[in-house]
Symmetry: none
Subunit: 233 residues, 2 copies
DNA sequence: AAGTGGTCTAGACCACGTA
DNA sequence: ACGTGGTCTAGACCACTTC
């Protein structure tokens, strides 16, 4: 048949996960070392190591050299949401999207910007402001910084007709994205652009994307109060 | 020393990521096999394999036996955030949490509530309103409906000292959760409870959880404008 | 100082999928 | 059938932490 359970890192991982899930090993407690487990399962230490590394990545255990491996105290539950291109997002609502470039400027990073992006002050940045409409109603105001050290080709792109979001998705892959969401009062400028009254609540998303360790782009996306963010799946 | 550690899977991974990010290897194209790369980097094939596996997990490449490894056409499209218990969330900010029950009432579902929860009108619900403080500053106003058909034991719980969130996490595991986030203007009641002015922006999260096909609870969580929702990893 | 995880190697065999 | 990735092993050395 499939396989009578030869030592595989997968079956070891599953068995360890079972012991954690069924409280055979209590949350916070120390579990046996790699050497011991390798003997128990009749496997090489490297095999047990891989099983444990994946469990650590999944958040079920925490590992420290010398200290050993412990069952995580509170397994973190997670939800996911998709990261659509803004044009697709609008299309999914059954509306037509329109893009308008407001400003485009190459300059050097100010201290605050550098800190926010995790780069050195003075590095070359491309600063873009633009607006996305859904059926001619303002949908999102986008304020973006692109790290030209990571994406040098962006400097030669005008972004007159293609939004930076769409361009980056096609031209600069990222491996990690950090989001922050918040509610804020619309500034004068935001209110004017989104065609709402100043002080009205706006839904703000901030996103920093990375290609491994290199920051690619920081973007602040401001939506009018009607906006909703749903988890998918 | 910062001197280049000879073949490490990390440096190999970074170099491969660089070639992908800088379009040395085009999206969709085939990259050299593990054996070839191992020779190029002067490393064992297992080391190259680990680098490639992590790149695959990050979504930068796609791997198939016999077919080889290709640069992913369009990388990562999802982000995740953790779902902590509100008390833990406050503790993570280094603040002390306090819980206050505002109201607790068993009643039958009104039509709108039933629709929102996906149950039949007239089903028995437990309606709870409460407030969570962080260092005595209002942190979250919680308005919750619990489906007593799914969680009958909640009817005998007073929730005077234990918040419904914490109680449910320990007593009623859920298998699925749907979230919606939005910005809104604080109502009179919300403003009073959160100690802000009416009309101020508030960050609202709505969550519906199920145990398999059975709705467990619907909750509306209202935060003052200082609140931030971060994705974790 | 010593214990535990982190990583590397060289070689081997296996499994999947394409040809 | 055969090439490529998937996994395992046995041994070794390194690096971080706690003791």
């Amino acid at each position: 048949m499939t396989s009578p359970t030869r030592s595989s890192f997968r079956s070891i991982k599953d068995e360890l996960a079972r012991r954690i899930g069924e409280r055979v090993w209590q949350p916070g407690s120390l579990i046996p070392g790699e050497e011991t487990l390798a003997r128990e399962f009749g496997a090489a230490r490297a095999t047990v190591n891989r099983a444990l590394q994946e469990l650590a990545q999944a958040g079920l255990v925490e590992r420290k050299r010398k200290a050993g491996t412990r069952v995580a105290a509170n397994p973190v539950r997670q939800a996911r949401f998709s990261i659509p291109v803004v044009g697709d997002e609008i299309a999914a609502l059954g509306k037509s999207s329109r893009y308008q470039l407001l400003s485009r400027q190459v300059r050097h990073a100010q201290k605050a910007e550098a800190t926010r992006m995790g780069i050195n002050p003075g590095e070359k940045l491309l600063h873009i402001a633009c607006l996305h409409y859904a059926d001619d109603v303002p949908y999102q105001y986008e304020d973006r910084l692109i790290n030209l050290a990571t994406v040098p080709r962006a400097e030669h792109e005008g972004f007159e007709s293609v939004g930076p979001n769409e361009w980056l998705v096609n031209e600069a892959p990222f491996s990690r994205a950090d989001f922050t969401f918040l509610a804020a009062a619309a500034s004068e400028k935001e209110a004017r652009l989104l065609n709402i009254a100043p002080g009205q609540p706006v839904f703000v998303g901030e996103r920093l994307t990375w290609l491994l360790a290199k920051p690619i782009t920081y973007v602040r996306m401001v939506h009018p109060p009607s906006h909703r963010l749903h988890t998918k799946l």
